[in-house]
Structures are given as C-alpha cells and as structure tokens.
Symmetry: C4
Subunit: 260 residues, 4 copies
C-alpha cells in the first residue's frame, strides 16, 4: 500500500502559489485557498488518502463536494494522489454551468451521478471508489447486500428518521448493474434511489461503490464504515458465516456450529 | 491502508497555538502542551496510528489515559486520525466531574468502561478498537479465545503474579456479548473482570476489543501483541491448525499431519 | 507495508546538491535537476512508491524512462526505495552507448527488455515488478491471463485502435516462461509481442510482470490497473468465480449459483 | 499497517542533540552521530520500517550491527518504532564487554544469537523478526522450508561458493524448535548452522526468523526477499500449489491441472 507523504514538489509549488494568489484569475480563485478545509484542498487531501487505501488505483474513482452553489469535481482520468486544486472543475449547482474548467482535463463521467445524489438525496458530498471489497460483494450478492448485528453498522444513518442504525438493525445497500459508460448509470441510480430512498450508498456490479453524505466528512465516515463492513462480510463468508443471519431474540445467540 | 503523515494544516495550526498558550483558558491548559509525551498529545498520535491500522475506521473505537487524577478521553463520534488535543474531554478520576468539555462534542460512550478498567484493574490507560481480527475471532469462539505456544504471547503479563506469560503458557481472553448501547457493557465488563481478574483484554462479540495497561505504552504493546495473535489465529484456522492445541511434553511436538 | 516517508538523510543531501550543481560533471548533469518531473527524479519517486506496494522487495524489479534519445535506467541490485538520481544509468536510445555510468553499480539485466518495449511498441517508459499478484496468476494460468467485465479494465488501451477497452471487452495478457537470466527474456519477449502486438504488459511465469506505456504516467496507470485486476482475479478464484466468464447478452447476467 | 512518518517530537529532540553532542559522554558518543549511515541511526531507521511491516509488533524482534569491533544492539522490551540511538547497547565484539549501557533498559535476549551469527557465519548484521509469514511456515513444515523456481530466490547467496542462487535452484531454510527463553536458542542455532553452514536464515517454530548478512544492507535485502518467498509460499499452498515442486527438465513445465 502506497504512502505518498512526500507528495511531489509540484504540490509544494502549488502550496506556495496558493499563499500569494494575487495574480490568480477569478476562476482560479475558486480553487486556491490557504484554508486546508477549503473544498478544493479537502478533495486533494482525501484523494491521496483514498489512493493509499487502494480505492482509486490508476485513475479510478471520483469525488465531489457541493459548497453552497459551487460544486467541486475531480476531473476525468487524473491520478488521484497527484491531483492539485487547480485540476478541479467547478460547476454551478442550479444550472450546471461550468464556472471553472482546468486545462488539459475532461469533466468526470461521474458528474451526473454526483448531481443525482445532490438533487435526490439532499447530499453535499459524494465519493466514488473502485474498492475491491465492493466489487467482490457485487459478485456474491444479487440485488442487495445485507449485514446485521455488527457494531460498525451504527456509523450509518437510518435515513427514514433521524439517528443512526442500531446494533440490532440490518444495513441494506442496493446493487445495480454496470453500464458501458459511467454516465449511463444516471437513470438506474435515479430509479434505485426512488426504491431505496434512505440509502446512503449504492454498489455498482463489477465496478465499485457510490457513497454520499450531508457533508464531506459524513460521506467519508459512511464510506469508511461501509468498506469496513464489506471487507468484514467477505472474511465472514470465507469462514462460512452469513453476514446477515439474525442472532435471535436472545442477545448474542449464534449458531454454535460455527464455534471452535 | 491509509497514511496520514501529512496531517492536516489544522494540526500545524494547533501545534502553533500550543507553543504560545498564553491566552489559553485554564480548561484548555489541561490539553495544550509542547511536550509530545503529554497525554493529550499521545492520544492524538496513537489515534492516527490506530487509524492507519484500520482499528478505528470511520469514527470507531476510543482511547483514554489516566494521569494522576486527570482522565483524558477522546470524544464520541470524532474522526480519530483528525483529532486534536482540544477535542479531548478531561474528567476527574475520583468523582467523574468533567474538568474540560470540548465544544461541539459529546462524551464517549466508552467512558464508564474506561473507568471500570481503572477502578477494577488499577489500569492507567485503555484502548478500544473495532479491529476486524477481534470481530472475526468473536464469530469463531464462544466464551473464550485461547492461543498457546506462540512467542508473541510473552508480551502479555500473567496477571496473577509478576512477570509475563511464558512460551508454554496459554493466553485466554474472555468474550462478552455486545449490547445495544456501548455504556450497557459496563455491567457485563464488571462481571467478566470479576471472573477473569488477571485478563488485560476483553473481546466484545461482533464489536471489537478493549485492552488496558499500567500505562499507555503498556496498553499499546498489549493491544498490538493481542491483535497480532488474533490475526495469526485466523490464519491458523484457515490452514486447519488449532491455535490452542498443546504441543505435548516434548518441545515442538506438533501433529505431523499438518506438515507438508 | 513499509512507509519510507522520512526518506534517508542521504536523500536530503542529494536534494541539496541538486540545488547547486555548479560543480557537477556533464554526466551528473544528466540526472541532477531541481525539477521533480525530471526523469531521474520521477524514477526515484516511483521506486519508493513501488517499494511501499511490495512490488520491488529486496532489490527486485526495475524501471526505465526514455526522454528524447536519453534512456534512464535504474541499476542492477539496488534497494529501490533508497535509490538516488546519481545511481541511475543513462544510455543513448539510438546506439545504446552508455552516457552515464554510476559508480559501484552494474547495468540492469532488464536493459534489453526495456529497449524491446521502446523499439517494438513505441513505448517511452517501462516498469518491471515482482508483484506477487503477477506471480500467483502465472501459476494459475497457462499462456494467457484473461479478465472481462470489470470497470477497471477501461484503464487499459485497446491497442489495435485508439481508445480504451470497454467494460464489455476482455483484457488479455500473455504469459511467457521464465529463463535462467533476465536478459534471456529478450527473444521470448520479442516473439510474444509479435504475437500480441496490442498488449501493454507481459507476465513472466514465477517471476513478475513488465508493463509499458507512451510515457511514465501512462505506464504507471496501466501497471496499477493491471495489478488491481490480477489481485481481484485471485480473490474471485478464491470464491470460485471465473474472472473471464461472459456475463451474457443481458447486462449483468451472472450465474445465480454464486450468489448468497 | 502503521505509518510512523511523523515520528515523535522526541526523535526531533534527539536529532537536535546529535547536532551538538559537545556535552555528550564518551559512551553516548558511540551512538550519537549526524551521519544517517551510522549504525545507531540505521538501526533506528530500519526498526521503524520493520514496525510498519508488522515484523516487530509490540516489542517483538531485534536487530544488531557489527561495525569493526563495536556491536550495536537494540535493547530488550523496547517499542521498535519509537527507539532512539541513545536506547542502544554497544558491546565489544572480542570479549563481549558492554561499552555502553542505556538507562532503564535490559540487554536483548537475542544477544548470544547475534554473536553466533557473527562468530560462526562471519556476518556483520543480524535481523530477528516475529513475521507472521515465518510463524505460519513453521506450522506447515517440519524441519526445512523449501521453495524452488521463483525469481526472487536469486536475491539469496549460494553460500557454498560465491554468487547467488539461480532461478532453477532450491532455497532451503532450516527450522528449529522454540525454547522457553530466547537465549536458550543459542545451542540449537549453533548446531543447525553446523548442519546448514551455507544458510543465511533460520526459522524458529511458532516464534519468527533470524536473518544475517555481510552487512546490514545485505541482511535487510535477504530478510525482505525471504519474507516475500515465505508469504508467496503461503499463497501457493492456499491454491494447492507446492512451493518446492520441480518444474521438470523442460523450462516452465507445470502440472497442467493447476491451470484454469
């Protein structure tokens, strides 16, 4: 697993330029900031983290943050761990007009999917990874992934009412079929969200996962917790344990045959 | 696996402010120090390490250090790898009065469990993780995890007398059932410690592990050694080797059928 | 997995010397540059990344960049994560004359293979790793590795025409037998490229993989995407799923018996 | 997996003190140096690396470098990733007199084993880890681990004559039984080296591995290559492939039934 802590000298040059953006264009000012919590900086920091987690290998995956009416989106085909704030697209949320177009990059094919999460789910951030845990789960489940009675479930909101899932609840994540082109996932994503209005995530078969949240930190936490649960479910299956079997009315009742 | 070495610029700002805490409130002075071995700094450093180990994914897990009568506790629902000293709660050990309450955070639900380790076990530090090794082991064992005849066992104290387990001893870690709310684990933890008074750790089924020690470094070492042993036991089981089978009166006697 | 972020102080001394190369020899000027995107700096940065990925453990693997008529090559038997720009060989592309020969190092045995990728495939960068994913795949497939219908395939070019593989295409990577000496792979590599003229990669049985690209970043992206696919295929096989089975005429049709 | 790049502030304080050791005692001057390649600094750098590789979890493992007649040894029971040069013992090679004794630490129980590697094998560095790959292999093989026909074998010296193993050779590593106390391994280590005079490594059952070399970098490379091979062998066994099966007189002949 890679560690990119040294970053590239490019990043340092970028950081320097952000300290004195006096000559920056109005478009560049949308992404240049010395505030580490500015969406453009957060996107770059998280993409490096996701790369280290092997979630955005090659140029896979994508990420977007909606900040007011500005929607920040990582471009298509970029190495996520080497991305700089000036590589980002900025769109207007209301009319999808491109406010900032980076040189040499194309818009992400995930753009309509990010907007779907914003419009239908009132989300303000969306993360898309090619996590191998998500791909493997999509090969082992047909239409839904379910996991129950694992503490980490409590990191995920109920959705249908305020608050989070309890330990005794079941987390359900819908799975949709992949399409030839990423943007073609917009309609299936629209349909599946109508069917699962409370979900915060969507697995795309043989492809990866989309996770969204009320803000980028919520989206990051949901994504980490769900990936933990997907990976745990794979380990459970390797030992012949069903991830969604009920543990019964008595606390902790588990089929004794799985025990040593 | 993530590497967060670059930290956030927030952390650097935090570090700066700790260098000149002249205007800090008395409550903040409880957590602001330029000494890297101050409990508040150690907690933040170790939480980043635990995050990199995938032990506190999302906002999972918790940690506490008792220093004299001050008990430092990471707050509820915080991203462990982004935590700052000023995010910590400080409680008085004797009467549980809150000496410092961070803005925007709730106390950790682990608080009564940390105090149980301090009161019953004379511990001064307690680590709680959602380690997948611990969760998997809790799905494969009923009431106790046992492992014998592995060198790493020697990192764990006997408990019933001074000194550490020998290579020929068996390490036993009790397993308790999970509850709907973390604080409800207080009574079962109390009971299990009465039953296993020499244990330094407690596995919570489908949840994770609690490990404590005489100081934070001992707790860290026990936690690392135990997680190593849990992970090794899972690998042994994948190859059909029982982690707690006796190796006989002759040194190194092992069932020859497991050999190539 | 190792993190080498602290680097060695040697590296910093090296960096200092690159800032004031006034007294450097003409040969050294071929590899000393303050530009982080200079081929000599990129090779060192990527070798550290590959080490962290366990692709070049020990002194395994190799890397080369062709920049105009200069061919930069990591030397034989060097610890990749500790390599400095001054450790590199530089050869002339047209006549293979050595333009720069580092002290105490021998040329890489991969040299003729890198040139084969350049001459036959019009590549400008070539990466060779001892990835365990590649070695394991070479033990499970005879002459070709195939994988189909995985999103990550879209990172790999078609080769026979512009553009990239589609989600519904099959990626095929030829496998050749290993030889006693690395340079003896030149003829088999020549032959297999004639047979698979559109491939960007070549697996060497019980040895590792060669991946090349139009430039170093393309080669890096292809290598990451292919290693992701090799690792995913191993996981699929562990669950009894064939990586190259067709998903049928209907989108997403998968053998239902593999589902839970 | 942990990344400790930020190190601790202690390390930086240590580094500062090494810059101005004017007031240092003669004993401390044995371990204080601004040269990153000084044995005391190399030991600390490598211990952090080994910790990140999960080879010295808790306080497991050990390391020693012989430099002239000075033998540098990490102390007993120290957290390897937090170790400082001033934590090291220095012994005289000829008479084992302790030249430097750190405060608050006990000598490593590995000391007689390190000296055995130096005396019997003419080594100048010895690495001891609790690698789980080594422990697992020790549970699956009786007296010897063997692996053949894997490129990475070529990183290991023949021993019986100059030069390295060829691709068609078999690497053999002896396995000895663990003992109650680490220092009791001295006699078995002595005996096994007499029996396997050309080995560079020794697996201790249910414990870990010792690897030595002509200098620390050779020892590091051998250790990395051997751990790679142990880990690969475990993966091969999971797929039912024997790591030491001959590939026949024809190059690359493999039992076709293992293929897809």
């Amino acid at each position: 697993m890679a560690c990119n802590c040294t970053g590239g000298a490019e990043k340092q040059q970028q950081a320097l330029s952000t300290s004195s953006p006096s000559s920056a264009s109005p478009e560049d000012l949308l992404v240049l900031s010395s505030d580490p919590l500015h969406p453009a900086n957060v996107i770059c920091e998280l993409c490096q983290l996701f790369y280290d987690n092997e979630w955005v290998t090659g140029t896979g995956g994508g990420i977007s943050i909606k900040d007011g009416t500005n929607v920040y989106i990582a471009p298509s085909g970029v190495q996520k761990e080497r991305m700089k704030p000036t590589d980002l697209f900025v769109l207007n949320y209301d009319d999808s007009v491109v406010l900032r177009r980076p040189l040499n990059f194309k818009p992400s094919a995930c753009t309509p999917l990010f907007f779907t999460a914003y419009k239908l789910q009132n989300a303000s951030a969306c993360i898309h990874t090619h996590s191998q845990n998500a791909v493997m789960i999509s090969l082992l489940y047909s239409n839904e992934f379910k996991i129950a009675n694992i503490e980490q479930i409590k990191a995920i909101p109920k959705g249908y009412e305020p608050g989070y899932l309890s330990y005794f609840d079941t987390l359900t994540i819908p799975i949709i079929e992949n399409t030839a082109h990423e943007e073609e996932l917009e309609v299936p994503m629209h349909e599946i969200i109508k069917k699962y209005p409370h979900t915060r995530a969507l697995i795309v078969r043989r492809h990866g996962i989309y996770v969204w949240g009320e803000n980028i930190w919520k989206a990051k936490i949901y994504n980490e917790a769900i990936d933990y649960l997907l990976g745990l479910a794979l380990k459970m299956k390797q030992f012949g344990i069903k991830p969604d079997s009920p543990i019964g009315s008595e606390k902790g009742q588990v089929d004794p045959k799985i025990y040593d």
